[in-house]
Symmetry: C2
Subunit: 365 residues, 2 copies
């Protein structure tokens, strides 16, 4: 039996599934604690390989490679939620996997996730499962228009989503998506926010300050902290996230995206959009703007160590560099106070996250 | 001919001589800019290897290995000053070396360094060269006791130093040191401080806030910032460092250690102790306590990029973890607000720098 409560020692190795920028920033954080990292990723552009002590290039369904990987590390974590359940089950036979396969299974399927949230009593958009065209017709009847049809799995940055407006023919929409899906009601929100938080193996929970997010073409463009919401909303958002983390018996950093919804009486409420069972783009500001970064926090939790302070140093602005925006790195590097992060990706493509820039404005003394 | 003004691009590779904790932290900083690193170090415990894209294990006088290394990178820098001059000359035939061999030659020999400082008009302890026993006798006659005999080269953390007190027999002292040396007068100081600063390829100079340093058994124990000195002393210390950097046509981060000397009239003055042509232990607080870390700053300078902001986030305390002090990592990790850094060294030995812990106290708003 694997000791699921294993505590890592400096010098131990964290295994990370995925070789992108999140894995890269996790590896950099792990190194500050004297840990080694072993990155496991399929063939491709894997910028995390450049900062890791060990790398495995193999498919996520290569049982032999997975077993060798799990035996070479003391704990496994991941940079993205679309790890097959069988992969995690295979790994978990050899070493602790944090967060657990249960947390992954709950959050990698929009329908399971929405039902989990509803069962917790947390507010979400109205939703209904859609497999066949008939389901879609019934769902639109119940939920109304506009609404959004989303694939249950593998969606990110607006991929796998189709908005359904008044005039849209449902046959065409259903043909275009062509995958197990979920119809969600359209939420008229005033702001998008996210809670980036962590839960340790001892059950300790800590949230970073609430992030206010602005998207462009379905991709996160900027995050500002503090979010312009009431203290009550900020407290409620963290409390909801804690309920989610506890219900999942979660270990590590997670992010919960929420909408701030204006009420008729002027009182705002929250509506949970989705859960990311991993470090999150809207938490990148913590590298430069908080005592502990979300990456260091995830490493602490993954190792079974105490969580670090989430204290923020000032007012923070984080701008994503998407595609060719990163070509302007020289001007960004010259901007006073700019903390420029580039991910070491070999190729810039439209919509690809190439880096980000954070500025921290410290209150005058 | 090598283009000495070369500007690196993200994706390029920085070559670093030396594989210890300074090289490791430089490699981590380089990675945040999308750069690769190639570490060159002799066989041994090289914790920087674990975070670098490429590694070469070879001696510093292996001309073939050096040439291959220099051809595989776009710029070379180093983590320590005892790189042989011939090594740097060899490398410089293939690619820019920053800081230059001239800066290295000036600062790796205490006698050349002291004469350089004197010629700049900067205050130092009285000094005299000592080769033979007769030199030592004359030097002690001129400088007095107590004084300190130091090897001209390869000294660090108090190694290669012997204090000469009233009763000491000079014959024994000279026999014990047995290397080209320098006698320095003893400076009665009230504080030890250091300026960690950078100069870019464009001549821009930026100093971090003055560091106040406390040593234990000749090894840095703690650094606190701000240093408890007058604004005039802080300004003067930075100005002296700028004169040194400009006189050396320096590129990169350097540290200048100084003594604060109380005057009879209550006015304090500064006395320059030594120059480190590299990132410096007393600047480790900048990783957590400043907008730009000394490592990121050195990378910026080394790449020919603009320097970053040196703004500090709060009151900073940095504690070194020497030898078995690092065994207490679990308690340190649990301390509220502690940023724990462990260097990934395979073996803890007495006097060995194993890590450090920084706390940043942010002013209440």
């Amino acid at each position: 039996m694997i000791d699921q409560s294993r505590i890592l020692q400096p010098g131990d190795t964290i295994g990370i599934l995925g070789g992108g920028q999140l894995a890269r920033m996790l590896a950099l954080a792990a190194a500050t604690f004297g840990l080694k990292t072993h990155i496991y990723a399929p063939d491709g552009d894997n910028p995390a390989f450049d900062v890791a002590a060990h790398c495995t290039t193999a498919a996520y369904d290569d049982a032999d490679a997975l077993a060798r990987f799990a035996q070479a590390v003391q704990v496994v974590t991941y940079e993205f939620e679309n790890v097959p359940a069988a992969t995690v089950a295979n790994l978990a036979r050899h070493c602790p996997v944090r967060p657990s396969g249960h947390a992954l299974a709950t959050t990698q399927d929009r329908l399971i996730e929405k039902r989990f949230l509803r069962d917790l009593g947390l507010p979400t958009a109205p939703f209904a499962p859609v497999d066949a065209l008939e389901d879609l017709k019934q769902a639109v009847e119940a939920i109304g228009r506009p609404s959004i049809l989303k694939t249950r799995r593998f969606g990110y940055d607006g991929k796998g989503q189709i908005a359904i407006h008044q005039q849209d023919a449902l046959e065409a929409v259903h043909r275009d998506l062509n995958a197990p899906a979920i119809l969600e009601g359209f939420v008229r929100f005033s702001r998008e926010v996210s809670v980036v938080a962590a839960r340790g193996t001892d059950g300790t929970f800590r949230a970073f300050d609430l992030c206010e997010n602005h998207h462009s073409r379905h991709i996160l463009a900027t995050t500002v902290v503090p979010a312009r919401v009431s203290p009550e909303i900020e407290t409620e958002a963290a409390a909801m996230t804690q309920r989610i983390a506890e219900a999942l018996d979660y270990v590590g950093v997670l992010a919960v995206e929420m909408f701030v919804v204006p009420g008729k009486d002027g009182v705002e409420t929250l509506c949970v959009n989705e859960i990311a069972p991993r470090v999150h783009n809207s938490g990148h500001w913590t590298i430069d703007g908080a005592v502990t970064s979300q990456f260091a926090q995830h490493v602490r939790a993954t190792c079974g160590w105490p969580l670090g302070s989430t204290q923020r140093f000032g007012t923070v602005h984080m701008q994503n560099l998407i595609g060719e925006e990163a070509d302007g790195w020289q001007a960004l590097m010259a901007a006073e106070g700019a903390c420029v992060h580039l991910y070491g990706k070999a190729e810039s493509r439209p919509g690809r996250k190439m880096g980000h820039v954070t500025t921290v404005t410290v209150p005058s003394r």
